[in-house]
């Protein structure tokens, strides 16, 4: 067939033209075999630029296009669309990167940069000559969503997707939804009662006709691909038939076994059969076998005897439920960096050094001390309370390099609430920088200092130790250059936010990326904050990075909108530049099956050849590289194309 390739050389202002002689490039390539049209233009990605491409395609009956400009990650889609606009198959449009891979790295050597640009474009011309017209692969979409994590972000995402008209399965590993927000006393900067604003959403989620709430469940396995996920969910044995249970609470009341309450952060006890907190949704207990007398030693059994509806079932086993969904929102939330990692602050052994979540429970009216701040050691009301920011955060040398974003604000809140609680108490807050970036946050901080007399001391505390029932604080005031010592009654640590412990395992199961700190990776840090690079996976809340409640909720709604737009089409279209097997050459060795990270390669037992499932293959190339017989290649990147490209690059 006669090749009629169009070459468009972009100036990109001076980004390319300042280094590469773009006019000369366009001129030289006009004579290259197969090129029917060659020109240069200042900004190819602009509307006139795109129109230039469309018109040239029509006027010169182009069979392929090479736009020589910036990286394809930026505008490949733009120019493919332009191709479609002129009835040219989009996969006959290629980008030659002469900016990031040429002009931007060879600014000192313009003549050679120009030569290199010409070579780069020649390789892409050779590629286009053998490109096939391809069609995106259409896959059906199951219009049901899975939300993993029932904290405020998960709840919000579930509600928004359900309100958009789609079914949602909301899976939460604890016995109740609510997450950490349910543990908070009041939220900054409005000092709203946390549970008062959260529980309506929790109830909505539980009662919504399109939300299937699965608490005390975990994700066991996920297979499939966007639009077509097969999820196996483990319903953990609660030893209570929660469908029959009426939530009367008699079992918990009579249960004799006690252990530390996770909800109360270890400051109070709960029973072995328990609901985590009074406003739990669902308000149905679960039985913690590890601490249950009957399950451990066969003694007791009171809960089973006393239950009026016979809901207790000691024989209950974990159950597995299979569900099909089209999109998965991961909203697994955060944990606090454990105190044991910080030896100089006592390593968790000093009773009156508490975590921020523990302090929330002390402040909470429904907490272990009924809202009166008391020392865990002796129950006395503290008069001198010290709050420490940046405990584990901003410490690349020993702990976490990042800032946890919310601690300045919540410790300010803590100090303020403590002062409201104890007017004659003294609150000190040690900081390095006070970060108050949200709406109303700076005013909140000023209020704490001016109206509530919280003393802000700029310095990082070196050591905490116990002496005579006090916690001695060795700090510093860098603003006056003095070491400072406080004999505190209580110290509250603003510990770093870390991803929920279970999330890393889950990320592996889902095959989605996390960053070096274990936070879920967004597709683009600026422009695609609510989705993973893996299609079909969306991110919401602190699982993606430290953030406050408004940001978590906003992100959840954003993720829900993405899910809704995925579900808005009948079909989902996938890139067709994927691997395929030449079955005549395939020897049936199955190496491709073993290396595929997406389980897209499968072995056909009858015909004894490998087969790549179009709908799953991501085009990563692992099988192509691994195949010993060379029978697996990639569409529009065949070995022959590559040889021709290399030849063009090595000419002269």
């Amino acid at each position: 067939m006669e090749h009629r390739i169009g070459v468009f050389v972009c100036h990109c202002g001076s980004n390319i033209a300042g280094v590469v002689d773009v006019k000369r490039v366009a001129e030289e390539l006009a004579d290259y075999p197969g090129v029917a049209f060659s020109t240069d233009y200042t900004y190819m990605c602009s509307d006139p630029g795109q129109n230039l491409v469309k018109e040239a395609i029509k006027e010169h009956k182009l069979t392929g296009v090479v736009v020589s400009a910036c990286s394809p990650t930026l505008h490949e889609a733009t120019f493919r669309r332009a191709g479609v606009g002129a009835d040219l198959n989009p996969y006959m449009v290629e980008i030659a990167n002469i900016r990031e891979q040429c002009s931007w790295v060879h600014m000192e050597d313009k003549p050679r940069a120009t030569e290199k640009a010409i070579k780069i474009i020649k390789t892409m011309i050779e590629k286009v000559k053998q490109d096939e017209a391809l069609d995106p692969i259409a896959v059906p979409v199951t219009k049901r969503a899975l939300v993993v994590g029932g904290g405020v972000a998960g709840i919000q995402a579930a509600l928004d997707i359900a309100n958009a008209g789609h079914e949602v399965i909301l899976v939460e590993k604890e016995a109740s939804i609510g997450g950490h927000m349910a543990q908070l006393s009041e939220t900054f900067p409005t000092l709203d009662c946390s549970q008062c604003i959260l529980t309506p959403k929790m109830v909505d989620a539980a009662q919504h006709p399109r939300i299937k709430l699965m608490t005390y469940c975990e994700i066991e396995d996920v297979a499939g691909y966007v639009g077509n996920f097969k999820v196996k969910i483990r319903k953990k044995a609660a030893y209570v038939n929660r469908d029959v249970c009426t939530g009367c609470g008699l079992c918990s009341e009579k249960c004799p076994a006690k252990t530390d309450s996770e909800f109360e952060e270890g400051l109070a006890k709960r029973k072995a059969i328990y609901t985590p907190f009074p406003q739990a949704v669902p308000n149905k207990p679960v039985l913690d076998a590890e601490h249950c007398l009957y399950m451990q030693s066969g003694k007791c059994g009171i809960c089973a005897k006393i239950c009026p509806v016979d809901a207790v079932d000691y024989e209950q086993k974990d159950e597995f439920v299979d569900e099909e969904v089209g999109a998965i929102v991961v909203a697994t939330g955060y944990d606090l960096y454990p105190m044991i990692n910080i030896g100089e602050y006592g390593g968790g052994k000093i009773k009156d050094v508490v975590t921020s979540l523990q302090f929330e429970r002390l402040l909470s009216a429904s907490g272990p001390t009924s809202g009166v701040v008391r020392r865990p050691s002796d129950g006395e009301i503290p008069k001198e309370v010290v709050f420490l920011t940046c405990v584990g955060s901003r410490d690349p040398e020993h702990h976490k390099a990042y800032c946890s974003k919310i601690c300045c604000m919540y410790l300010t809140k803590h100090a303020m609430l403590y002062k409201h609680n104890q007017h004659d108490g003294q609150a000190y807050l040690f900081y390095m920088d006070v970060r108050t970036g949200g709406k109303g946050y700076e005013e909140f901080y000023q209020r704490a200092a001016e109206e509530d007399d919280v003393l802000y001391i700029r310095g990082k505390v070196s050591k905490l130790y116990e002496e005579d029932g006090k916690v001695m604080v060795w700090g510093v005031d860098t603003l006056t250059g003095q070491k400072v010592e406080i004999a505190a009654d209580m110290v509250v640590l603003g510990l770093a936010m870390v991803p929920n412990a279970a999330a890393l395992e889950l990320a592996k199961k889902l095959k989605i990326q996390v960053n070096e700190w274990g936070f879920l990776s967004e597709a683009h840090p600026k422009l695609r904050p609510v989705e993973s690079l893996a299609p079909g996976f969306y991110l919401a809340g602190a699982a993606q990075g430290p953030k406050d409640i408004p940001d978590a909720v906003a992100q959840a709604s954003g993720a829900a909108a993405k899910v809704a737009s995925l579900f808005a089409e009948k079909e989902y279209h996938r890139e067709p530049i994927i691997a395929f097997v030449d079955e005549d050459d395939c020897a049936g060795c199955r190496v491709c099956v073993s290396v595929c990270p997406y389980d897209a390669a499968e072995f056909d037992e009858e015909r004894k050849v490998a087969h790549i499932q179009e709908a799953i293959c991501e085009g990563c190339g692992a099988c192509i590289a691994a195949c010993p017989s060379g029978s697996v290649t990639q569409k529009n990147l065949t070995d022959d194309q590559l040889f021709k490209m290399v030849t063009a690059a090595l000419e002269d």
Binding site: I342, G343, E344, G347, K463, Y465, E466, E467, D468, M472
Partner: protein, 303 residues
């Protein structure tokens, strides 16, 4: 079994009490500490400037001497341990300094005359530096020590003082957790004492600043002794002659500074080990102690 032993200048002279007790304890645990046939002062402090090769030569030389006797060298003094271990790391990881140091040492004709095998091979970090307590834990085993204990120390409340040089910098010393170490606590449990944890166990005694200005060291050491006293300790153990001096002898000044100051005897950990193992009293010399531990030990029927 024999292990090469580097006493260091102070154990050789001013801290003979430490040296004596340690050797005898080792013997009682079937280890012969084989003192290096030739050695010099290690230099006491490790230089923190980046261009120091001359400053670490003493350490390298001693390690090179030790290399002739085996692949390990044991030491007792915290400062020697710190200098030798950090010097060893330089020799293992910094090719430029390693080359320079070996060059300088090879030029030492006197040493070459005295010791035939001196630096036939470059010193490249082939020796492991061990602290005596690490030897007790890893070569002997705390369980074996527990079995050999002859004297009941259960009434004695002992505060283990770590000081600085054993623990810091943590990624070079790799000795124990640098904020909440437990090796000496484990040792004390093995010999049957009551362990007293106290907050100042890893804080500085003042170190060599005692030479410039005694009051500086008094303030630092007072903080440490006070902290142990407030936790009801009977006695403090240490593994450094300078710490022992500062914590013990300076109590003379602490008594003057603080009315009602509670004095605490400070002994070397091997002296306590020796008491536990029932070694002969001739190896337990407390004549250099300002705060005499003998009345306390007598009171607890330990001597």
């Amino acid at each position: 079994m024999k292990i090469p032993y580097y006493p260091g200048c102070t154990l050789h002279e001013r801290a003979l009490d430490f040296d004596k007790a340690s050797r005898e304890c080792a013997r009682a645990l079937d280890i012969e500490l084989e003192e290096l046939d030739i050695w010099t002062c290690c230099g006491a402090v490790f230089p923190l400037t980046t261009d120091s090769v001359m400053d670490i030569l003493a350490g390298v030389r001693n390690l090179a001497y030790a290399a002739r006797l085996g692949d390990k060298v044991v030491t007792l003094c915290s400062f020697c341990y710190n200098v030798l271990k950090r010097t060893n790391k330089v020799m293992r990881e910094d090719p430029e300094k390693r080359e320079k140091a070996n060059l300088f040492l090879k030029a030492d004709t006197e040493a070459r005359e005295k010791i035939e095998s001196y630096l036939k091979e470059d010193y490249v970090g082939q020796v492991d530096v061990l602290h005596y307590i690490e030897m007790l834990r890893d070569v002997v085993g705390f369980d074996k020590i527990r079995e050999r204990v002859k004297v009941d120390l259960s009434g004695l409340k002992v505060a283990p003082y770590y000081g600085c040089m054993l623990l810091r910098p943590k990624n070079e010393m790799e000795f124990d957790d640098h904020e909440q170490p437990t090796i000496f606590e484990d040792f004390l449990e093995a010999i049957g004492c009551e362990v007293v944890d106290f907050p100042m166990k890893t804080e500085c005694c003042g170190g060599f600043q005692v030479v410039r200005e005694e009051d500086t060291a008094v303030a630092c050491s007072q903080n440490v002794v006070n902290s142990a006293a407030r936790r009801d300790a009977d006695i403090i153990i240490t593994t450094c002659p300078l710490c022992r001096y500062n914590l013990d002898v300076l109590q003379k000044q602490m008594e003057k500074n603080v009315s009602g100051f509670r004095k605490l005897p400070v002994v070397y950990f091997t002296q306590l080990l020796g008491i536990a193992l029932g070694i002969d009293e001739e190896y337990l010399d407390f004549s250099d102690n300002y705060v005499d531990p003998r009345p306390l030990l007598a009171e607890k029927s330990l001597v």
